[in-house]
């Protein structure tokens, strides 16, 4: 009887979900110890953490899909920047109504991703290098479209006064539930939900896991490998566009430099969650936990005003520690 019990606990502890949760709990308890004069116990801190990490989390949703297919998408940060610029140009400069601008931006983001996916699928190129090229290209395009300058959300009147150009930016960067939850966080949760639907409840999810697990077996079982890859990278681009719009709204401008190095954070989130970079395994819930872990880590370092050097060293150390917890049996 006792034996059986330890056995169950052991099995539970071996679950990726439990491990990811443990990593998160350890970080949170660190926060309780180093609470910066109680700032950590203020809901505002958690709300802000959630807002800050939302953009990374949104990118990580798409990254999860791509990583489960056995690929990687290094372009998300650049596509975020490109889409922040695109959305700003559309809505601020060209006066396209927000709804239409959003739609167009999301489509273009999905297109960027789909192009990577198509290159990976059609020419069997390595995802790392394809998306690296896309990363460089999208950044160039963002700079080209914006002429290297930020596109701020205001218009200068004839009398030299500044007025907000598109109120939608402000609406996106606000809070709901009595100011207790940022709208971008809600969007992040929606993205998590959408990814969960795709991965766990819809047909393509099954294909995504199958391709990551054994592409050849999947192909011989009639899985439309090419299309599924285009879909996965396309969704990654779509989420990058969502993140780009959120980023632009929070910055009140479209910055062609936005999102630089965000891809690394997104990957770190996915891996810290416990999704395997080899593909075929993982889930979006793990990514949600990973997002919170990274979010709290950053927040705790920030409220304690840890120096830059210390911050980097601690981040490196804690990533290793978290992944050690996660290390899969295989």
């Amino acid at each position: 009887m006792i034996n059986r019990k330890t056995h169950t606990i052991r099995a539970l502890l071996a679950l990726p979900f439990t491990r990811a949760l443990m990593a998160l709990l350890i970080i949170v308890s660190l926060g309780m110890v180093f609470n910066a004069d109680g700032a950590f116990f203020d809901w505002g801190t958690h709300r802000d953490m959630l807002r800050q990490v939302s953009v990374y989390g949104i990118l990580a949703c798409g990254m999860t899909l791509v990583i489960i297919t056995g690929g990687i998408d290094l372009a998300v940060g650049s596509v975020l920047g490109l889409m922040a610029v695109t959305f700003s140009i559309l809505s601020i400069r060209l006066g396209v109504p927000p709804a239409a601008a959003i739609l167009l931006t999301l489509l273009l983001g999905a297109l960027c991703g789909a192009v990577s996916g198509a290159l990976v699928a059609r020419f069997r190129m390595q995802p790392f290098i394809v998306t690296l090229a896309m990363m460089v290209f999208a950044r160039g395009l963002a700079k080209f479209l914006s002429e290297g300058k930020k596109i701020p959300n205001y218009v200068v009147g004839p009398d030299g006064s500044y007025t907000e150009a598109v109120p939608f930016f402000r609406h996106l960067d606000t809070r709901i539930l009595g100011g207790n939850l940022a709208v971008v966080t809600v969007i992040f949760f929606l993205c998590v939900f959408l990814s969960w639907l795709v991965l766990a409840r819809l047909r393509p999810g099954r294909y995504i896991y199958a391709i990551g697990g054994n592409e050849e077996a999947a192909r011989l079982s009639g899985v439309p490998v090419g299309w599924v890859k285009v879909l996965a990278y396309g969704m990654s681009g779509f989420f990058a566009a969502v993140a780009g719009i959120c980023q632009a709204a929070q910055e009140t401008q479209g910055d062609p430099e936005a999102g630089a190095t965000y891809e690394l954070t997104a990957i770190a989130i996915v891996v810290i969650g416990g999704t395997n970079l080899m593909g075929g395994r993982g889930s979006i819930l793990l990514t949600l936990l990973g997002t919170l872990t990274i979010g709290y880590l950053e927040k705790i370092l920030s409220i304690n005003a840890v120096s830059e050097a210390g911050r980097l060293m601690l981040t490196g150390g804690i990533i290793i520690a978290a992944v050690l917890l996660q290390r899969s049996r295989k």
Partner: protein
Amino acid sequence: MADRLLRMKGIGKSFAGTRVLEGVDFDLHAGEVHILAGENGAGKSTLIKILAGVHADYEGTMEVGGQVCRFRSPRDAATHGISVIYQELSLIPSMRVSDNIFLGRERSTHAGWMRHGSQAKACAALMARLGLDVNPSRNVEDYPISVQQTIEIAKALAFDARIIVMDEPTSALTKPEAERLFAIIAELKANGCGIIYISHKMEEIYRIADRITVLRDGTHVGTATAADLPRAALIHWMVGRDIDEQFPRHAPHLGGVRLQVEDFTVPDPHGRPYPLVDRVSLRVRAGEILGIGGLEGSGASALLNGLFGAYGRILGGRVALDDFPCAVRSPQHALRHGMALLTNDRKTSGLVLSMGIAENITLASVPKYSPGGWFNHGREMETARRHERAFGIRAASLTQTVETLSGGNQQKVVLAKWLETAPRVLLLDEPTRGVDVGAKQEIYALMDRWTAEGIAILLITSEMPELLALSDRIIVMHRGRITAEMSREEATQEKVLEAAMGQRSGVEGVAGP
């Protein structure tokens, strides 16, 4: 006994809480072949992996050459004169043959300077001794699986090992190659080596066995000399019950022509001017099993893969299904036309090892379980349960990942997957590879039932008795062409082998290349 090479006593082993071996005793004498038998998942490979130093944490003791040992690594075991041919190929496909042969025991100076020339020469000599036509400086992946398997054997023999372990060495070999291996085994015996041999092929076991040890569910059932353990008793030891060991082939109810193939050609993927399949024509009727015989490189596997669209659009020839022309472009397309292909390597092209049993079973018919895109997990589980019962798949749960299943159960999962697509034509490439007697029997019975339901089956198997007993008609291929066709009644082992070596009989010949 003075010439006892190995003695394992009370060996126990668990993986993450599951008991795999319990109190197993095993010993090996010089100059004997000791067969290790048992069902899939009985723990045979685990036992020899302990011997080989792969698993260092186990219970019990081990004596090699009268000396108590506990190996920490494969290297450790190798230095004690133990050489292993593993069940899963342990070659590096992207490396040269000579590099593979000497992997871990390179010929180099003390400073680590590689002596490539010396290795290549020694490798060529070894290949010549074993009668293999293999170029030491080509990559292993350039050769078909059967040749790779013989390279693996050569690798185990390249060093003066006293204990040689062979874990299903013939699972990918054709008859003549297996014969060559038996000759080598005889030679090794004469030189005083001890051989531990694992196999599911009964003919083979009785051909070479001196003693037999049987494991069941990780426990030691018994050890006996081959003479004292008749076939029926061995099977009883293995599965714990009697099995009526025969090929249940009922009189076929032949229907109309289901699959008609004319001048089918598969060009060489590397652009060499010799096609893998050269203008092959054949017909299979509903309810018929057409056996395809042939040696390594015969093109039989390429024929099935080509028919299924695994190499893309058909480049030469015509295919008709139930009299409708059908230009297969991809596996997806072939599936839609009612074809199913069981490939000869379940790990690399049959299963998604990281997915569960149920998920693998429904993989080829996902659209059926996701009408409108929404996955119906309940129905999927129902189906999986149905197949679990029909095939007798043994697993803790249907969500268990297939990587943790034994070979036989894995094979049943693949079969279930293809059957779930309700095929009209079933292409089977080595359906019983690595499968234990009990499971084999079940697969034979299933094939018989499927033909009764009107499915046409194309069957490749390297086990001659299987080919002769299951096929209603047999064609034999050699270098991409059909060299013989015979009915079930006409077929004999000799005739098939003759044709497989390239002698033509009863078929319109085309001038050779």
